[in-house]
Symmetry: C2
Subunit: 189 residues, 2 copies
């Protein structure tokens, strides 16, 4: 998606070899016009997949998921972070490791909001090592729902998560794929 790549090229801050900051249009300040274009693109990619629910994880996935869901006319469910593992029988949980924060956390979705009748599109802002996406996939699996695929805004391909998850047979579509950020220069795939 050229519009998105142009925004990344112009505005993103490369913090170090692994971390890209897009606070100015996606993760702290949100350009809702850009989100609309992103939502339309996800719709054109997944509109024939029978999707009836969009799943994301708080916090920065929520805006993207809500704007995208308008095009599909389906509800959004967002996984909550910092859920207690012993939350009981009412919640699907999965453990996620954040390389940025070097910490494990548990995400959770109430069993009321995912079921075997659901065909799910997972939406997230970033795909790097893949841990967050695998956590969401794990929750879809526990619910016996159907996973249509994942729509990602920015994939850092050099961190390997996308390749591993695609190899497992899941359809992952990323609107901007970054092959490397070496020497402060972003190379798109």
């Amino acid at each position: 998606m050229d519009l998105l790549k142009e925004r990344i090229r112009k505005q993103a801050d490369i913090i170090n070899a692994d971390v890209l900051r897009v606070d100015m249009f996606l993760n702290h300040q949100i350009d809702v016009g850009l989100l609309n274009e992103i939502g339309k693109e996800f719709y054109s990619l997944f509109k024939n997949d029978g999707i009836n629910k969009i799943l994301t994880v708080e916090a920065s996935g929520i805006g993207i998921a809500c704007v995208t869901a308008q095009y599909f006319s389906v509800p959004v469910v967002f996984a909550k972070k910092g859920v207690n593992r012993n939350v009981g029988n009412e919640v699907y949980t999965s453990s996620v490791f954040s390389f940025t924060k070097s910490a494990h956390s548990v995400i959770g979705v109430s069993k009321k909001y995912l079921s075997p009748e659901d065909t799910v599109l997972i939406i997230d802002d970033f795909l790097a090592n893949g841990s967050a996406l695998e956590g969401l996939m794990d929750i879809v699996r526990q619910a016996n729902a159907t996973l249509a695929g994942a729509g990602i805004v920015i994939e850092k391909a050099f961190q390997g998560g996308g390749a591993r998850i695609r190899a497992s047979g899941v359809r992952v579509v990323s609107l901007a794929i970054i092959e490397s950020m070496d020497g402060g220069k972003i190379v798109f795939g």
Copy 2:
């Protein structure tokens, strides 16, 4: 807003005299069609106020803010939770007390995304004791931005925050105002 009150009457869970759960359409699963009606309503209420930025706080405010921002054609900025007080000179911070969690936390907004040129509409899902809204107002004040007002989805009037903040001269509009939930019965104002 009758559509919203009807949804609250039909679906909300009254957890106790103080806590109302709207997980099924607003806070965990999100009915994006309903958010659109909410966004239109906020636009009709604040469209002549010169708003150029919408401010909210993660996580459940983000979806409402993004959908609402489409009608205003302005960006969203969301305050981050769990910010370190010693985050440095780059971030406006404010302390917020959650009565639900009985805990203080610090919210923060990067100074890059709020300035004296901004006329801000604050959007949030709930207004109860008013601590979160006062934290966001404090950040708008620190930025020397203009506060146009606050658009709230559900106000629990019996917890007093709305009355106190309106008395200070701020325009607060709530789409559903709950006067009491005594005995498991919701009485709208």
